[in-house]
Symmetry: C2
Subunit: 127 residues, 2 copies
């Protein structure tokens, strides 16, 4: 934690624990805030926002590119992709190595590729 220039306060450590204890997770700020409060850690929404942004800048987590009101954070920073269930705002990991992407286009002049996000949007079959 110190490694990233962040002072390990009670709240930051608690959020870190919650985030990384259970493997890969996709969370909104509100979900994480609820979890922390339920775990008996007093913390404000604003601090969750601040902390998640600091973690993002430090490269510990990522912001997911799904449209919709809320921002999703992903604790898995490695290259992998997502299902997104329409209408339910649910995010699922796509099992790794299943998806192949070929022939990446050249980025425009002066740009480089930061990340490739694939989102497979799902809808519930009507039966």
């Amino acid at each position: 934690m110190r490694r990233f220039g962040l002072r390990p306060t009670r709240q930051r450590v608690a959020l870190g624990d919650l985030l990384f204890a259970k493997g890969d997770r996709h969370l909104t700020v509100e979900e994480l805030h609820d979890e922390a409060v339920n775990a008996g850690v007093p913390i404000s929404l604003a601090t969750v926002y601040n902390t998640l942004h600091q973690f993002t800048e430090a490269g510990l987590i990522r912001v997911l590119a799904v449209e919709g009101a809320k921002t999703y954070f992903d604790t898995n920073v490695s290259d992998h992709h997502h299902f997104f269930v329409e209408g339910e705002n649910e995010v699922l990991d796509i099992p790794v190595n299943n998806l192949q992407i070929g022939n990446l286009p050249e980025p425009p002049e002066g740009m480089e590729i930061a990340h490739v996000d694939v989102v497979i949007r799902l809808r519930r079959k009507r039966g």
Copy 2:
């Protein structure tokens, strides 16, 4: 327009003209509103929102899956993908046929794939 159960009002026709006159476009609600007003079409923001959602339901346009505060609408409904310039909130089309996706994963039970979105996030090279 009538074909989609939409009454062709002055505002809706004007928005349709703006959207589809210039080929593929990626627009926020505010940009389109500004364009309409500049074109001398009196229209309110709320109507632009309403109309774009109606167009989306009718399948005329799509919502883009880019994270960030604003919603982007895309006038190109066919399968194609996007560059997204970080920090500048700019969306660019990826030239078609450049990108290949293979080995799509099976969707979970009871789900079907609605759409595959690929977003290649770009950052400006620092020189």
